[in-house]
């Protein structure tokens, strides 16, 4: 029941087009709308009632919204101003900043989170510095071992164990901090990847003690409790842990680079073409930095530790075997960070299985009728040395994984905001 007649000045009297007035009042809504229904919903939320609709000579808010949708100037450049594309690679930094300033910038995937600046700096520094921690811890442990050279073996063993635990813990922490893509708030952390962790432990263990064990096995041993495991050259653990830093950095950089390219590409093919060089660059960077680090670790640690008495400059196969292990781990890291955890797991498991099979084949061959089993291993070791076993196992697995990564990682689906479950 209306006690008042409709105000006379609302539609009929004024010369101005009421639809144009509405259009001006709701210009942002109308320009950005992707659907007349969106305008209808927005108009209603903005207080447009049936009375207003009637004054615009429309039957309902939907037909009014359709007219507004048809009359509003479309923002064709919406996609452009969302990410002002600087086609040259030099514009990356600028693009990131403008992206954050845009209304939709909260969703800009290149930014990890929107927090206060000091907190972001701190988290960035932590993410960069964390991968260095295992190497430093390992170096510290080795230094303590040098200092405690004359200490009782029990103490040295304790130091060794504590150091190994610390190194492993920090390594896990730095790897799990890797996915640089923003996560939904309150998301449950992924379950701890037990199997890959065990594989990595096995591979590292083999890199440290595998050669010794294989030599013992081939020589008819090992005799328990006679032979304590020979300490590996300290450059090996140091090199392994130090190489974690470039691995994590390279993987991070690649993820960021791909994310940035994601925003600017029009088609999947273009995206793949632009990501492939980045992937190659990341691989190359790791492949260059890893031997350099290994060489550095060997000259530093072996020289200091051996005190000039046993200069075991890494021979070709041993050096290459460590590099192969590292390459395998890096490939698995890349694949796992982009959601291909099963592939990474399969690669690691294959390498572990190959090494274990080689080790097992030697004692098994002592059984009657099974001598033939150890022949290939013996021949390989005789010609190429013990280090050729991990080299072959890890190298093959690494090559397969890298080939797989070179196919899958340039695809857009590898760069979802959250890595795929399992």
């Amino acid at each position: 029941m209306n006690t008042h007649p409709a105000p006379a000045d609302q539609g009929s009297g004024s010369s101005a087009d009421p639809v144009r007035v509405l259009l001006r009042r709701h210009s942002t809504l109308c320009e950005r709308a992707v659907d007349p229904l969106e305008i209808a919903a927005g108009l209603e939320a903005g207080g447009v009632t049936d009375r207003t609709v009637a004054s615009c000579r429309h039957r309902d808010v939907f037909s009014l919204a359709e007219e507004l949708y048809a009359r509003a100037p479309r923002r064709e450049d919406d996609a452009q101003d969302r990410t002002p594309v600087a086609p040259s690679a030099s514009g990356l930094g600028a693009r990131t900043e403008t992206g954050s300033g845009h209304p939709g910038g909260g969703a800009d995937p290149t930014l990890p989170a929107r927090g206060p600046v000091p907190a972001r700096l701190l988290s960035g520094a932590a993410a960069l510095g964390l991968p260095l921690l295992p190497g430093l811890l390992c170096a510290g442990t080795l230094a303590w071992l040098v200092l405690l050279e004359s200490a009782p073996p029990a103490l040295r063993a304790v130091v060794c164990a504590v150091g190994a635990g610390a190194v492993l813990g920090s390594g896990v922490a730095s790897v799990r901090a890797l996915p640089a893509t923003p996560r939904a708030a309150g998301m449950r952390p992924r379950p701890f990847p037990v199997l890959p962790f065990l594989c990595v432990c096995w591979l590292a263990g083999y890199a440290l003690y595998g050669d010794w064990l294989l030599r013992q096995l081939l020589g008819g041993g090992p005799e328990f409790p006679g032979s304590a495991p020979a300490p590996p050259p300290p450059g090996v653990p140091l090199g392994l842990t130090l190489a974690l830093a470039p691995a994590v950095w390279c993987a991070r950089w690649f993820a960021h680079a791909a994310r940035r390219k994601l925003a600017g590409c029009r088609s999947l093919e273009e995206f793949s073409a632009r990501v492939r060089p980045a992937l190659a660059l990341a691989l190359l960077a790791f492949a260059v930095s890893c031997p350099a680090l290994l060489w550095g670790a060997h000259t530093l640690a072996d020289g200091a530790y051996a005190g000039g008495e046993r200069v075991d400059v890494p021979a070709g196969p041993a050096f290459a075997a460590t590099a192969a292990v590292l390459l395998l781990l890096f490939a698995a890291l890349l694949l796992g960070a982009h959601g291909f955890r099963q592939a990474a797991r399969a690669g690691l498991l294959t390498a572990c299985a190959l090494e274990a099979a080689v080790l097992l084949s030697v004692p098994v061959a002592r059984l009657p009728w099974l001598q033939a089993l150890s022949r290939p291993v013996e021949a390989l070791v005789a010609h190429q040395g013990t280090a050729s076993v991990p080299l072959a196992a890890c190298g093959c697995a690494a090559l397969v994984l890298l080939a797989y990564a070179s196919i899958t990682l340039p695809r857009a689906s590898a760069h979802h905001r959250e890595a795929a479950p399992a």
Partner: protein, 683 residues
């Protein structure tokens, strides 16, 4: 009977939409068993915990529509792909292509009457779009029922490539043409989340418990993602679907989308292509839900307009007003009805206006203050009390009402009041700000009791809760014509245009000056509210709706037929209202007893009819055996195909809606909705 309540971001969660309504419904219908199937919307919601569940909730199943989802587990073999085998992949490609094409196509908005007027061409286009969407959706559902890994497949490169192809195809949305790789990925992710209900094990299709397929009725709260499980259960087992919407879900989606576009909400990817495609997907999903639902209950005429716009068949819409508890207001309401009107009904004799609600820009209190200044010119003794209600009363507010400026708005109002009405010599100000729970206003009912006339000045409003409360209290009201105000008030109060202080002032002054009229209006308002807006009315309407839907569309009756010819469109066959006896819907523990007691009696007349179709009956019975141990369908139960011929062929998109709508629709319709004209009480 066993009812599956489907919610999305809703009931069992404390911070759910319409949680209060669901709770009252479940407690009110304690004769039925409810299985709550809830899709949660965020981690925050899950952390807030559940409501206290009534005893008739037999089980609660939840699934997240956020985050990375459940890990696919060890069942998914292979390297990064979800579906294996060339056949599965081809099926996935075909189904997802259909879905993507439908989503990317530019046709928007289906309106039955528009299609009737326009030639057959437009109708055919839109229908084929809806059909393609449905074909793709159900194809994916079948695939997900057979194999794991749909989720991974939706995130795969193949899916992104299909999306890209659909976006670049001629006839695609203009915004979709501009989609970049980033947008495609975002859309793929969101689609994967939205389609997660397809992969759930709620339908009893892969062994295990029967879940939704064993229920007699699916009651979906909202037509969007919440209705998706209901659609699938309907598809798989013929379970009838009832959709209730207090606030159209699609409208809420568009509002959120618009807010994302203008930067009001920095959530999700707000690029135009993403918004366009997701909006299109939600619209198609909503259309499909409306088309398949057997009954749709909008909360008011406004929701109804939206639903009709999105293709809901008018014949299947029943407005069911939200119910509120009148008990707190009874004392005040009874007192107010005491005629004859007294001269000075207030202790101090001053005619008083009351405004109650949560203060925010949408409530437009400033207009009220300006209007009150004009009222004071006519009635210098008039007073205004602005009572702020806490937001903690569990009401579901319309999405538009809450805003960022809420906190800043109250001081503005106070400042405006102080400027317009400087305190007089005695220090008394004609405008008083109170809050419910304070010393002067202990309860909400006291707030209304303190006034002669209750005024609502909102510029935007959904369902005006405070208006209904005032009606319960028997107060005459002056309100602005927004949202559902007109149909709620229905002639028992004055309605003025929004944002018009002069009109508001004149109406207020008219009622304040004429107490007899105000009292009569108030009494009429209370009578109207008690009839239409009580919890009891709401619950009883749903009780009747359940029985009616069930009588018309027995669950599971068509499962066997569907399995034979899944693409065959159902024909509108006449309904046999009592084809299934009522006791077949009783929970298992009661049904057994009932059948033992009186089971053989009705078998006589029906037995002969089922004899000819024993094969079908046997098959149907076996499909329902794994449901809950006990067979709920006696083999003598009617054989005839139910009347959900309404569901597919009869869609408005086909251009012949409602022509063969059964006559039984008419009566309840008039009772529920047509109430306003007859109820209108002229003072």
């Amino acid at each position: 009977m066993r009812i599956a309540l489907l919610t999305e971001g809703g009931y069992p969660y404390l911070r759910g939409e319409s949680a209060l309504w669901c709770d009252r419904l479940l407690r009110g219908l304690d004769g039925h068993e409810f299985a709550v199937h809830a899709l949660s919307r965020s981690a925050r919601q899950e952390r807030a915990g559940w409501c206290e569940l009534p005893a008739n909730v037999t089980r609660v199943r939840t699934a997240p529509l956020w985050g990375p989802g459940e890990p696919a587990g060890e069942t998914v073999r292979g390297l990064g792909h979800g579906l294996h085998g060339r056949r599965e992949r081809r099926r996935f490609r075909e189904c997802f292509s259909l879905l993507a094409e439908a989503v990317c196509t530019a046709q928007y908005g289906v309106r039955a009457d528009a299609l009737r007027g326009a030639g057959a061409a437009v109708g055919a286009v839109v229908t084929s779009q809806a059909d393609r969407f449905a074909a793709g959706l159900y194809g994916l559902a079948e695939l997900a029922a057979e194999r794991d890994g749909l989720s991974a497949a939706l995130r795969s490169e193949q899916a992104v490539r299909i999306l890209q192809g659909a976006c670049r195809a001629p006839g695609a949305l203009r915004a979709a043409h501009a989609a970049r790789v980033e947008d495609l990925l975002a859309v793929a992710e969101r689609l994967e989340r939205a389609l997660r209900p397809l992969s759930l094990d709620w339908y009893g299709l892969r062994g295990g418990e029967a879940g939704l397929s064993a229920s007699d009725l699916c009651h979906a709260v909202g037509a969007g993602p919440a209705a998706l499980p209901g659609l699938l259960a309907h598809r798989a087992a013929g379970v009838p679907l009832l959709i209730t919407e207090y606030g159209v879900r699609l409208r809420a989606h568009y509002l959120a989308s618009a807010a994302g576009a203008t930067g009001a909400v920095a959530r999700g990817v707000a690029g135009a292509p993403v918004r366009a495609l997701l909006g299109s997907f939600q619209r198609l999903l909503t259309q499909e839900a409306y088309a398949r639902a057997h009954v749709i209950t909008p909360g008011n005429a406004h929701d109804r307009t939206w639903q009709e716009r999105c293709g809901a068949d008018r014949a299947r819409l029943r407005t069911v007003y939200p119910g509120m508890d009148p008990a707190p207001f009874d004392a005040v309401g009874e007192r107010s009805a005491d005629l004859p009107p007294r001269d000075g009904c207030r202790a101090d004799g001053a005619p008083t206006l009351v405004w109650a609600g949560r203060i925010g820009p949408a409530k437009d209190v400033s207009t009220l203050l300006h209007a009150f200044a004009r009222v004071r010119e006519t009635l210098p003794a008039a007073r205004l009390r602005i009572v702020e209600t806490g937001g903690s009363d569990g009401r579901s507010r319309p999405a538009a009402a809450g805003g960022d400026g809420d906190d800043a708005y109250l001081p503005l109002c106070r400042a405006l009041a102080a400027r317009l009405f400087p305190a007089d010599a005695g220090g008394a100000c004609p405008v008083a700000f109170d809050a419910v729970g304070s010393r002067t206003v202990p309860t909400l009912a006291d707030a209304y009791a303190a006034g002669d006339v209750v005024v609502l000045s909102s510029a935007v409003e959904g369902f005006p809760v405070s208006l209904v409360e005032a009606m319960f209290c028997g107060r005459a009201t002056v309100s602005t014509e927004v949202g559902a105000v007109r149909e709620v008030i229905g002639g028992t109060g004055l309605v003025v245009p929004p944002r018009d202080p002069r009109a508001l002032a004149e109406a207020c002054a008219a009622l304040l000056g004429d107490r007899t009229r105000a009292t009569r209006l108030g009494a009429a308002a209370r009578a109207r509210a008690l009839e239409l807006f009580t919890v009891r009315q709401n619950v009883e309407t749903f009780r009747a709706l359940y029985l009616e839907v069930l009588a018309r569309h027995p669950a599971g009756a068509r499962a066997a037929d569907r399995a034979q010819a899944p693409d065959e469109d159902d024909v509108a066959t006449p309904a046999h209202p009592f084809a299934r006896p009522a006791e077949s819907h009783l929970p298992g523990r009661w049904a057994g007893a009932t059948r033992r007691g009186a089971g053989t009696a009705p078998a006589g007349p029906e037995g002969g009819r089922s004899a000819g179709t024993t094969g079908r009956a046997g098959r149907r019975t076996t499909t329902r055996v794994p449901a809950g141990g006990a067979t709920h369908t006696p083999s003598w139960a009617g054989q005839d195909r139910p009347a959900d011929g309404l569901s597919a062929r009869n869609r408005p998109a086909d251009g012949l809606p409602a022509r063969n709508a059964p006559p039984w629709r008419a009566a309840p319709e008039r009772a529920a909705v047509g109430a306003e004209p007859e109820e209108a009480t002229t003072p």
